[in-house]
């Protein structure tokens, strides 16, 4: 059937005769994943250039800036050596790329290679950010769809009001204020949970909650708006005609369409939670990448800054791509149409 031919077909078969192309390459997924790989590589290149240019763009003498105003000339020269500042820019760039691909990411001014430091700290950031994103997704959809269903056709108007106000106010509180308030209530007043550090499993609770609660509010508002308009859609009317049970209608027909609509709108918000994680780490003295990159900026440990920002940026890019893949899995129309912008 001509109308069902995906764009992938035409693109692949333009260059190679049809019989040489294996079956799976003709599927829209192959073309979709190729495009996503392209996005990944382009973002990586962008980050490499941006992080490399940090040292390049430091006003004045970068070696002096790195060594600090009080450093002796010898120390400044040593710093210049270790940053490779006396070599031409193109060679420095090649060295930088080489360090990235060898996994060392350069040598910290203080201890060991940047790669080792990141390997030790990254898990703390990733666990908290990852769990917070998962919790956000689950809770926001449960809350958003739940409130929509409960307030359908103007029922329980009070619930709609409470929901709107509570989510708006909580969403207006920045992550570090939320974290601070959580510490006051749950650590200092009630003594239920540790106020900081990551010594025991219970230490993970408050950071995750502090990070997730804002995005839960803003995403569930988006979900509610989308669910409200999806309820007016013709395909919901069709399920009424089939007299399907409410459970089936909401879970099978409403939810997937709301998920795609809401995720399309909130992709940047979810990857932005990585930024929130960096701030949150400061509140809870969390031994993750956030505290290390902030310390590195204060102590001007440039290799650590470059490596950490590269890794954090890639994490954000990967989150974006995972969201796109999830969207395509839920709604196959996204395989074909969605542009990357």
């Amino acid at each position: 059937m001509a109308s069902t031919q995906s764009p992938a077909d035409s693109k692949v078969f333009k260059f190679v005769p049809r019989r040489f192309v294996p079956e799976w390459l003709g599927s829209p997924w192959a073309w979709f994943l190729t495009r996503k790989l392209g996005t990944l590589l382009l973002s990586f290149a962008f980050l490499v250039v941006v992080t490399f240019s940090i040292v390049l763009l430091i006003p004045g003498d970068a070696a002096r800036a790195a060594a600090g105003p009080d450093a002796s000339l010898d120390v400044v020269e040593a710093t210049r050596q270790s940053l490779g500042l006396n070599e031409p820019v193109w060679r420095r760039f090649l060295n930088y790329v080489g360090d990235i691909f060898s996994g060392t990411l350069g040598t910290s001014f203080r201890v060991g290679t940047v790669g080792e430091q990141i390997a030790v700290r990254a898990p703390y950031t990733l666990i908290v950010a990852g769990s917070a994103i998962l919790i956000t997704l689950i809770l926001a959809f449960v809350l958003g769809v739940g409130v929509t269903v409960l307030t359908r056709d103007g029922r329980r108007a009070w619930l709609a009001q409470v929901f709107s106000w509570v989510t708006a106010v909580v969403d207006a509180i920045p992550v570090y204020v939320r974290g601070t308030l959580l510490i006051i209530v749950f650590a200092l007043s009630l003594g239920m949970l540790p106020a900081g550090g990551a010594q025991q499993p219970s230490s993970f609770v408050l950071p995750i909650v502090a990070l997730a609660i804002g995005p839960v509010c803003s995403l569930s508002r988006i979900v509610r708006r989308e669910a409200d308009s999806a309820l007016q859609a013709n395909y919901i009317r069709t399920t009424d005609g089939w007299r399907l049970a409410g459970r089936t209608v909401y879970l099978k027909y409403l939810l997937p369409n709301v998920v795609t609509a809401a995720l399309t709108l909130s992709g940047l918000m979810l990857s932005g939670m990585i930024g929130g994680a960096l701030v949150m780490e400061q509140v809870f003295s969390w031994p993750g990448l956030g505290t290390s990159v902030v310390n590195a900026i204060i102590t001007r440990d440039y290799p650590v800054i470059q490596g950490t920002i590269l890794v954090l940026g890639m994490v954000a890019v990967i989150i974006n791509i995972l969201i796109d893949v999830a969207l395509a899995a839920v709604d196959p129309r996204h395989l074909e149409s969605r542009s990357d912008s």
């Binding site: 109308s3 069902t4 207006a172 204020v177 308030l181 510490i183 399907l244 089936t248 027909y253 369409n257």
Partner: protein
């Protein structure tokens, strides 16, 4: 109507935000003059004091009044926030407009790179700038300002792209008006309003990001202080002075709320649609239960499969006023009969049909002496399983009839799974057989596909196949061919005809097309302003043997086209 009703709400939100912001600006201007002494007076005897009448937010580790410090910090906080927003806005919109004036290649390249930059969290971009410029108030402002630029570039270039394609810009270009003049005269004014709404909203994020930088120690440095810096210091002393963080937190949250309200209100004033969306709940009046006007059983003819007696439907306003959309319609349909209802849009045909099926929109009232489909009394609340097997429906727009995210087989099968208790294998087999019976090529493939991969004609055929399997007493086809290509229309009508031949059901066909009705129906009812005005046979339509003037006009319209088509030929 709801738009005009919500509009004042948008204004109220706007003024609430505006007043809050004005208050903060006033505090920023006057506050430091009045309070800077108290804010900086060190008094070790009163260090870490709890809130009191002298010190509403308590005192910090040096015994300084936290309230005075919050008031004083407002100036720096606002200055940095507005400064950073201004950097993002000016540079971003400038680049965004200029990009649109460049050649297509360069334009595409810049937009592609910018798309990558937009995908990074602003805080990470701000860290890059902060690590180049070091920490401090001005570097933090510049860092957050630069981090906000990609968003504005994207927004402006998207908005500008829309304007550039407008006719008046094209005409200006044809008249060789210089590009810069085009940008200033045409592009900027037209993107200004959406941009200012976006600017208000993004200023709220700027505030949070700036104070975040101060909070993590990369922004404002002691002895200066903004809200973020105060929170940072308050947090360090929190075990000894838990009150220290409340003052700056409150300032932070109220200021953020003010900016958000201002932005929301601005958006609502500019675009009333947004106000309605955000207002959220459309209030529906509680549906009036279907009322039986008079119990008069036995009135229907015994040979009729469908009996509708004096059905009225209408709306109920919030104040309780009733209006009537469908008035006292009565009709009956025999088994294997196709009854057509014709009329212009808004005449109440669909509403009549949907009310019979028990699917009228919520918020309407419905009353009738009798609505019966075979043994099922539709005025009672029949069991869903019975209903599902009693009435099947075909809708007007097949492309939106099905959920876009489910395969056809999955959604067509649910009704059998829930109401007939069939297992998946049986559902699949029966659907394949039914589609084959309607001479569908490759039915297995149709069931595997998603709605957007199928044509409108095929989608309608899926519903007809489903109806064949459900074997209902009544099939309601609501303008089933209106949204289809002319070439497919005849095929769908043929399948409905086929359905009638294969089952014992009655068919109610709704259309505004007399030609369709004449071909297919056994009897035709003409509906006008919610009432039946005339009952016709297909022969009467053919011979133009009609009484009512509305029917006459309908016929004139059709015959005009037929006359034009067959003008000088004999059939």
């Amino acid at each position: 109507m709801s738009v005009t009703r919500r509009r004042p709400r948008g204004n109220a939100v706007f003024w609430a935000g505006f007043l809050l912001l004005a208050a903060f600006v006033a505090i920023a201007v006057v506050g430091p003059m009045v309070f800077s002494d108290a804010a900086n007076r060190i008094n070790p005897l009163e260090a870490r004091g709890a809130p009191s009448s002298d010190n509403p937010f308590g005192t910090d580790g040096f015994g300084r009044d936290i309230f005075a410090r919050v008031v004083t910090a407002t100036r720096l906080t606002l200055l940095l926030t507005f400064g950073a927003s201004l950097i993002s806005f000016v540079v971003g919109t400038f680049v965004g407009v200029v990009v649109r004036l460049l050649g297509p290649r360069l334009q595409a390249a810049i937009i592609q790179v910018n798309a990558v930059a937009v995908a990074f969290p602003a805080l990470i971009l701000a860290l890059v700038v902060a690590s180049i410029m070091g920490s401090g108030s001005v570097p933090a402002m510049v860092a957050v300002g630069i981090a906000g630029i990609p968003m504005y570039i994207r927004l402006t270039s998207t908005l500008a792209a829309r304007v550039v394609n407008e006719d008046y810009v094209r005409i200006a270009e044809l008249q060789r008006v210089p590009r810069v003049v085009v940008a200033v005269r045409h592009i900027l004014p037209n993107v200004a309003i959406p941009l200012s709404v976006a600017a208000a909203n993004s200023t709220a994020f700027t505030l949070v990001e700036l104070s975040s930088l101060s909070f993590i120690g990369l922004g404002v440095q002691a002895p200066d202080y903004d809200y973020g810096r105060m929170l940072n210091e308050g947090l360090a002393e929190m075990s000894g002075q838990p009150w220290g963080v409340f003052g700056p937190s409150i300032g932070m949250v109220v200021l953020g709320l003010g900016i958000l309200l201002f932005g929301d209100g601005l958006a609502a004033m500019v675009d009333p649609k947004v106000a309605v969306q955000k207002g959220g709940i459309t209030r529906f009046v509680e549906a009036v239960k279907a009322g039986r006007t008079q119990s008069d059983a036995g009135a229907g003819r015994t040979e009729s499969a469908v009996v509708v007696d004096k059905l009225s439907v209408g709306t109920l306003s919030e104040s309780g006023e009733r209006s009537t959309l469908v008035k006292d319609v009565s009709f009956h349909i025999a088994p294997r009969e196709i009854l057509g209802i014709v009329g212009e849009s808004g005449s109440g045909k669909s509403l009549t049909a949907m009310s019979i099926a028990g699917l009228a929109p919520i918020g309407l009232w419905r009353a009738a002496r009798q609505v019966r489909i075979r043994e099922t009394d539709m005025l009672e609340r029949p069991d869903p399983s019975v209903l599902a097997r009693t009435v099947s429906l075909i809708y007007q727009d097949p492309m939106s009839t099905f959920s876009p995210s489910l395969r056809m087989g999955s959604q067509l099968g649910d009704v059998f799974r829930q109401h007939l208790g069939w297992d998946s294998r049986r559902i699949h087999q029966e659907l394949v057989d039914a589609l084959s019976a309607l001479s569908t090529p490759d039915p297995e493939r149709v069931l595997r596909q998603f709605p957007h991969q199928l044509s409108g004609g095929l989608l309608q055929r899926c519903l007809i196949a489903q109806a064949l399997l459900l074997d209902p007493e009544l099939l309601i086809a609501d303008e089933p061919t209106t949204a289809l290509d002319v070439s497919v229309q005849a095929d769908v009508l043929r399948k409905i005809y086929r359905f009638r031949a294969d089952s014992d059901a009655s068919v109610l066909l709704i259309s505004h097309d007399l030609g369709v009705v004449e071909e297919l129906c056994d009897r035709v009812l003409v509906m006008y302003h919610g009432e039946f005005v005339e009952e016709l046979t297909p022969d009467q339509i053919r011979t133009r043997d009609v009484q009512h003037s509305y029917t006459q006009r309908l016929l004139d319209a059709t015959l005009y086209f037929e006359g034009a088509a067959h003008g000088n030929g004999d059939r």
